[in-house]
């Protein structure tokens, strides 16, 4: 068992454990902060999948942007209502959660069954790309290639997503301002 595999198992254990904690805990603030840990572990998994640029982007955008936004929304929505919700949730513990648990468990069963039947390491296009030496090696520096591709092959999606991001941010700012009438 190589060091990479040990690191992979450690990272995936951290990611899955903290995600389970996020799903199971009653304390909302604690679940948000455990979500930090999940995202960092996922960034580690991206590094192990040889996508270092995506991992850095994940840390910058998710941990730096989205989680701070979620914390903001949590702080701005009142604390009392959240406490009321928590009490209700502990009362209705049985039916609501059993149905959700059943749904998630059966979905997981289906997904795992499919994955074990597919044998993802020997798909046709994967063996083809291995034959044509189209595999990212651990020593390759991919960031330059990503930049060149972003400005040539993926230029149209890049521009579209930049416009969409601007629209979404303006819309968010417009939605969350105080109304004049109220």
């Amino acid at each position: 068992m190589s060091l990479v595999q040990i690191l992979f198992y450690v990272m995936s254990f951290i990611a899955l454990g903290s995600a389970l904690f996020v799903a199971a805990t009653k304390n909302l603030v604690r679940s948000i902060f455990m979500f930090f840990v999940t995202l960092f572990a996922l960034a580690g998994l991206y590094v192990l999948a040889l996508a270092d640029f995506v991992a850095i982007t994940q840390i910058v955008i998710y941990v730096g942007g989205i989680l701070v936004l979620i914390l903001f929304a949590f702080m701005l929505s009142g604390k009392e209502t959240l406490n009321i919700i928590a009490q209700q949730r502990s009362k209705f513990i049985s039916i609501n959660k059993v149905a959700a648990f059943l749904l998630a468990g059966l979905f997981l069963l289906i997904l795992l069954n499919t994955f074990f039947k597919v044998d993802a390491d020997h798909l046709a296009w994967i063996t083809g790309s291995v034959r044509f030496n189209n595999v990212i090696t651990p020593t390759a520096a991919m960031t330059e290639n990503i930049g060149v591709n972003l400005m040539t092959k993926y230029l149209l999606p890049f521009e579209a997503i930049s416009i969409l991001l601007m629209v979404a941010l303006i819309g968010a700012a417009h939605l969350s301002r105080k109304g004049e009438k109220q």
């Binding site: 948000i32 040889l50 939605l175």
Partner: protein, 102 residues
Amino acid sequence: MISMNDFLIVSAVLFCIGLYMIVSKRNAIQILIGIELMLNAAILNLVAFGKYDRFFNGGQMFALFAIVLAAATTAVALAIILNVYRQYKTIDPGRIDNLGDE
């Protein structure tokens, strides 16, 4: 080398945890966290299979676009949640059951 099945299993479990959160939680922010978990599971798959595309980086590029889209979605969703809280004084989706103009 890490096999593809390991990545697939990890992302499947993450996806199902997100699904469980979306169905069972009674708080819009936690539902949003569940959606983020499902998105991250999908991005993990994209990145893992993106290893087999060295020239065009299809998987990694799509993962980058998905991350940026998730950021935009979250900003809009949180603005909506704040508005809903201002209107109804609760963010439990089960109790938001009438239109705004009354």
